[in-house]
């Protein structure tokens, strides 16, 4: 299988989906000639032209709103929000319109819009180029929220989103765009929503992580292995709907769980995962479900390294669970 970075995998998948289905189009700020500020859409305009690779005016609400109109009239728009931090001007369109169109029309209208947004920290982007806003959208009924951590999953999730019947938000961990390389299946490769993946098996503790925290989880698992603790790392891939069955099965085996995410702790998605685990695995748990997260502060610039979860902080939470 060919190797690709996460970024290349997303680029190639957009290319493949646009070639496969003439209804698919890409829109957003700077996605055309520039190829997006991260270059995810580079060259697409040469192949598919400016009617399908659309540089929009600077207005995220307008972008998502227009995409809703396109989608309910037969097109398959894939929207790029330049940074997830700039998704808020589109919050109304996403939460009030995109998420609710199917329900309020009893299925008479649907808007299968894909919203891609680079998210997370690690690039010294400060308060407005680093956020992980997934929880706001998971909280909203009607949305599917996914976050790949490998090139293969990026391809599979994006292709499923483009072909699926409902709106999908794909948060792309920008810190991994060019740092993660992996095999990507050629041809059709669909990762179904709601199916997680065991990144590495283990017997003693279940560590649930997504996006850029998956490599951190793996490093933490290496640290733990040196102390004789075997960690099972699970990447849910789709945050909502969550593959709770996979997590439940794992925690019932290990008896211990830690959830790891970049977003702030309070009402972060880790809180939901933790609640689900304790509801389902209460009698098997040997320790409280731990959380390693960003702090409840705005995302800092100078102190980014202190803010972000890392293998050491994760190892502390693992130790606490093991020694409970």
């Amino acid at each position: 299988m060919p190797q690709a970075t996460l970024l290349q995998a997303i680029h190639d998948t957009l290319h493949e989906e646009m070639a496969r289905d003439p209804r698919v189009l890409v829109m957003g700020e700077d996605v055309g000639r520039e190829g997006g500020v991260f270059r995810v859409t580079e060259g697409l305009i040469d192949r598919f032209g400016p009617d399908r690779v659309i540089d929009t005016p600077l207005n995220e609400g307008g972008i998502v709103g227009m995409a809703i109109g396109m989608a309910l009239n037969g097109l398959r728009p894939v929207v790029e929000i330049e940074f997830a931090d700039f998704i808020y001007p589109a919050f109304d369109q996403i939460v009030s319109e995109l998420a609710k169109l199917r329900y309020r029309s009893a299925g008479l209208f649907t808007a299968p819009v894909v919203v891609r947004a680079p998210s997370g920290g690690g690039i010294k982007g400060g308060a407005y180029h680093s956020q992980s806003p997934e929880a706001y959208f998971i909280h909203t009924a009607g949305l599917t929220v996914a976050m790949p951590s490998t090139p293969a999953d990026a391809k599979g999730l994006l292709a499923s989103a483009v072909r699926g019947p409902d709106p999908v938000l794909l948060f792309e961990p920008k810190a991994l765009y060019r740092t993660v390389k992996g095999e990507v299946p050629e041809g059709e490769h669909l990762v179904p929503f709601g199916k997680g993946r065991i990144v590495r098996p283990g017997e003693d503790l279940t560590l649930v992580a997504w996006g850029a925290m998956v490599p951190v989880a793996s490093m933490a698992a290496d640290l733990a292995a040196a102390e004789g603790v075997r960690i099972e790392v699970i990447d849910p891939r789709t945050l909502w709907p969550l593959d709770i069955a996979l997590i439940e099965e794992s925690v019932n085996r290990t008896g211990r769980a830690v959830v790891l995410h970049e977003a702030p702790r309070t009402c972060g998605f880790g809180a939901e995962v933790s609640a689900l685990i304790q509801e389902r695995c209460f009698l098997r748990l040997k320790a409280p479900v731990g959380r390693v997260t960003g702090y409840d502060t705005p995302f800092p610039y100078a102190l980014e390294k202190s803010y972000l979860p890392d293998p050491e902080k994760t190892a502390c939470a693992v130790r606490a669970a093991m020694e409970f």
Partner: protein, 358 residues
Amino acid sequence: MNGLSMIAAMLPDGTVDPANDPGLSDGDLLAVHGKMTLLRALDEKGIALQRSGRIGFYVPSTGQEACAVGAGFRLREGDWLFPSYRDHGLALTRGYPLSTLVAQLFGNRSDATRGRQMPNHWCDRNIHLVSVSSPVATQLPHAVGTAYASKLRGEPVAAITTFGDGGTSTGDFHAAMNFAGVFRTPTVFLCENNQYAISVHVTRQTASKSLAVKAQAYGIPGIRVDGNDVLAVCKVVGDALALARSGGGPTLIEAVTYRMGPHSTSDDPTVYRSEEEVEQWRKGDPIRRYAAFLKKRGLLDDEAEDTAQAEAKEAVRQAVSDAEISPPVPVESLFEDVYEEMPRHLAEQRDGLLSGKG
């Protein structure tokens, strides 16, 4: 004031169109040149610091100095500043200390805002320079509210906000213009139309014939000015500020200019625009144009110009070396200023981090 014709002041023969003459003294004319030269030197240094890894990021205003300095020169004590990330020149001209500005780039202990934000996110309480954020045009409604408060208290001050052509596409632009019109607030909207929002040309931002003409729909004056003519900018912004301070309400000014450099240090403009286009605009470089004007007037010669450049470079170099030696911000400051008093959960998170337990 139809928002379509372009106002200019500096005439090719070295005279000033009397209708658009800001009436600056010879000393002020030279001071304007000094500020523009300082701004250019600062931007060159900012890029160089980023390229050599000493700061993380920089947004230059190169090519737009006439907007920043011409407008900044007409601001007075008490006025409020809501610039974009590209308008340090406005603040610098109004009195933002170079040392404070440069310290922000380093985000260390010398930074008055404690390393909270990326470079170019300015803030200074003394000159009412309100903390800059990254989301485009969010500051515009703030400039309306601040102006409303000043008006309510009968203070003869104005609020100015600056933004790019891309900013005019946002919902906040519409909201701010509409509110300012309805409440007749003393707000000056200075749109620096530098032709690009990152890679997107202004002709893809709007089908409107100009940006200034949009003011009509909000019932406020809209003025289009040559944004590379520092005296013209000074004149129209000065008039708009005076109108605002005297209860005459808001104005939208579109200053037509050009971003000669990259959008930021993360940008490669060769992807989306030609060298010929840049070269064409470079001929209208606002500093060179102004220097030529001053020379024709007999206020500046080559030697004085060189001296001004050397002094500007030295001032920037000094500010950089002062700021750079400062130590990093303390880790515990991560949890401060979220609220006035630190709530218990943050104190716990702070203690966790400091004790190495996460």
